[in-house]
Structures are given as C-alpha cells and as structure tokens.
C-alpha cells in the first residue's frame, strides 16, 4: 500500500513539474492565435487592395478605348487577365493552401504585367494623357499599386512572425497539442516582391 502511494506521489510530482513548466512558459499560449489573427487581417488587407485595383480597371479600359482604338490587343489582355484573377475565389484559408495561393499570386501578377504594358502603351497618346479622367484614374492606380506593395510587405512580415512561432519553442509545443489545426502560412515570393510596380512618367 505504502509503495503505491509513493509511486502516485512521484507521478504527481512529475506531473507537477511538467505543468509548472508549461505554466511558466505559458506566456506563449496566446501567441499562435494572436499571430494567426494578425496575419489573416493582413491577408484581407492584401485582398482588399487587389480588389480595389480590379475595380479600377473597367473604368480605365473604357477611358483608354476612347482614345487609343488601335490598342485593342493590350486592352483585351488587361480585361482577360482581370477576369481570370477575379475568377479565383480566395478567403482566409487560402493562406495555408500552397497551390491556391500560388494560383492567386500568379493571376494577380499577370494582371499587374498586363496593366503595366497598357500604361506604357498610353504614353503614345498625348490627348489621353491630358484627359482629366485618365489622370485621376492613373493616380488612383499608382496609389493602389503602392498600397498593394505595402499590404504585401505587412503580410509577409506577420506571416514570418507566425511561422517562426509555429516552429520555435514554446510555440511548437502548443502547435503540437492545443492548436493542431494551425498550419504554416504561404507568403509571397521574394524575387517577385522586389520588382517595382509600373511607374508612369508625365
């Protein structure tokens, strides 16, 4: 009988040591959900800015059409790229789905490239460049590209924090016990982030 009590005591002490240890490093218990929420908020920022760019395009295409009738090809490319990018449905879960994330990123990059070509093309049309509507659209588009860059960088930074927490102590403990559904998040590829948004000279 005494032996059993002794063993139980030892188990108790052992359990205590583990629990106390967890409590002391328990500061980490909130980190994963916090970083997760923060990264997802940044992700929706990115989505918003891309959406904002997509919303500007029909108006831009209409305006350019009126002046640059022979630029059908570039205009079609932009419209098609926009349609393609809008077709991809993304939400908060996209960030931990590498294939979907890449698809979204590629589609947005294609749209960015087509837009860049369009803005270079319009350089040849002085009338268009002095059109007030076009000027407003152009500055909005530039502003949006800049916001996209900022939103993406904020997202990359918060995903870095989240992924690091997921793989380091004590976060790795919580990830393997309490938060098993927490997956590493995808991030934008660096090489592509370095490329500058299309800039347009007046």
């Amino acid at each position: 009988m005494n032996d059993i009590v002794c063993i139980l005591r030892r188990i108790g002490i052992g359990l205590f040591a583990v629990l106390a240890g967890l409590l002391v490093c328990g500061c980490g218990i909130n980190n994963l959900p916090t970083y997760d929420e923060s990264a997802k908020a940044k992700w929706s920022d990115v989505q918003n800015q891309y959406q904002r760019r997509a919303d500007l395009i029909p108006n831009l295409v209409e305006t350019v059409k009126g002046y640059a009738t022979q630029e059908r090809e570039v205009l079609t490319q932009v419209t098609e790229a926009r349609a393609k990018a809008s077709q991809i449905k993304v939400d908060a879960s996209t960030v931990s789905d590498p294939a979907k994330f890449k698809e979204y990123q590629d589609a947005q990059n294609a749209l960015g490239g087509a837009l860049g070509r369009l803005l270079v093309t319009v350089e040849r049309y002085p009338d268009l460049k002095s059109n007030q509507n076009f000027l407003a659209l152009q500055s909005q588009l530039e502003g949006t590209e800049n916001r996209i860059a900022v939103a993406r960088r904020d997202y990359i930074e918060s995903v870095r924090t989240y992924n690091t927490e997921l793989r380091t102590f004590p976060g790795v403990l919580w990830a393997s016990t309490l938060y098993r559904s927490y997956k590493p998040m995808e991030t934008f590829t660096v090489a592509e982030d370095v490329t500058k948004p299309p800039t347009v000279k007046f």
Binding site: V5, L19, T34, E37, G143, N146, N163
Partner: protein, 267 residues
Amino acid sequence: MLSSFRAARGDAILGLLLSAVAFAAYALTFPELTGRVVDDAGILDPATKAALERKLAEFETKTTGQLVVVTLKSLQGTSIEDYGYQLGRQWQIGQKEKNTGALLIVAPNERKVRIEVGYGLEGTLTDAVSRLIIENSILPRFRANDFAGGIGRGVDDIIQAASVDAEEWKARSKKRPDDEPGLLDILAFVFFLFIFFMIASSISRQGRGHVQTRPGARRGSRGPIIPFPGSWGSSGSSWSGSSWSGSSGGFSGGGGSFGGGGASGSW
C-alpha cells in the same frame, strides 16, 4: 519526437538568420521628429519654418489631423513611396485609432516629392487630389528652385483639401485591427488555471499530504501572464490634441498609421 524538435530548432535558427538578413536590407534610418517641420535637408530659412509650424499647428487644433513637413537629405537607396510610409509609421503621425495624419516629404537630392496620407485621411486627401496638388502647386515652384514657395503652397492646398469635410472625417474612425488580448485569451487562461488546480487537488487527495500542492499553488498565483510584452510599447505615445501649442518642443505623433496612400512626383 526529439528529432522533430531538433529539426524545428534548426528551422528556427535558419529563419532567424534569414530575418536578420532581411532586416539589414530594410534598415532605414529616420530623422528625429523635432517639430511639425523637420528640415533635415536644410532648404528652409527660419522665418519660413516658423510660419509653416504655425499653419500646421492651427490645422491640428481645427481638425485634429496632423500634418508634418519633412525634407530629407537622402532616400537611402529606396523609393520615396517606400521611405514615406515607413517614416509615417515610425513617427506615428496622426491621431491613434483615426489615423488622420499626413506627411509632405521633399527629397531635394533625388528631386522627389510625395504626399503620404494616413489611412484616415485617404477619403478626403485622395490619391488624385494629392497628385493634383503636387503637379499644380508644388512642382512648378520646385522647378524654379523655390522650395519655400512650393512647400508653402502645397501645405495650404493639403490643409484645404483635408479640411473640406473635417466634420465628416472627425466622425469617421477607421480603426486598424489591434493586437490586443481578447476575452477569449483571458478565458483560456482561467480555464488553464482551473484544470491546473483540479489536477493539483486530486493529486493532493491521492497523496494524503498537502506538501506538493504548496509550491504549485504559489506558482499558479504568480499573477496574470502578460501574453506579449512589447506590443503595447510602440503605441505608448499618448494623444493630447489641443494642448499642443505651435511653439517648438512637445510635439509628437499621436499613434497614427500609414498604408501607402498618397501620390508622388519628381521635378
């Protein structure tokens, strides 16, 4: 289990190294926020500076928005757009929660100018309006080397644009998601403590003695866990709106944030 821990540690170390490299690449230095006009490039004479300071202070008392004029010696190799929003965040110009701040940034050596607009002012001081102010008011004067004139006129226009519906954006508060602990975190902590004491009491019953519970209990009552120290530190500067006079000292950012709104130009 152990090997996976080791792998995770390896990843973490690699990650830390990589992030250190990334930080080094992004490390920009920012001038000190000495007032509403920070003439780092030294292109403004004291009289102009004082006049601008007065105008900017008046703008703040009238609309609670913060506008700061800054001239830079160098953009440190990055674009003015990149530098601008980071400077705005560093200085935390604009009212916290509302983010009603704006910067007029002039980099004479790179011949670049930018109006950087905080989140809360993006509705009134739009990209298009900012661009028009730069093109029509600022650049023609800069091209004639009249920096004081260009900045003065630019500030007038920005103030006018941002004051048009001051009442409206006073009411609008565009809140950024803050990383503050929610109710759920506190509940999780309480739940954790609860389980802890459940186990502790069951062990003490089994062990017939109370010796083991003491150290654990003391540990459990160490006070609330602070989930992420440092997250409050950066937003420490408090907002005291109208109490600032236009005179030199005592000016600081109100905690506003920036997201790349505004427009740029070059001459």
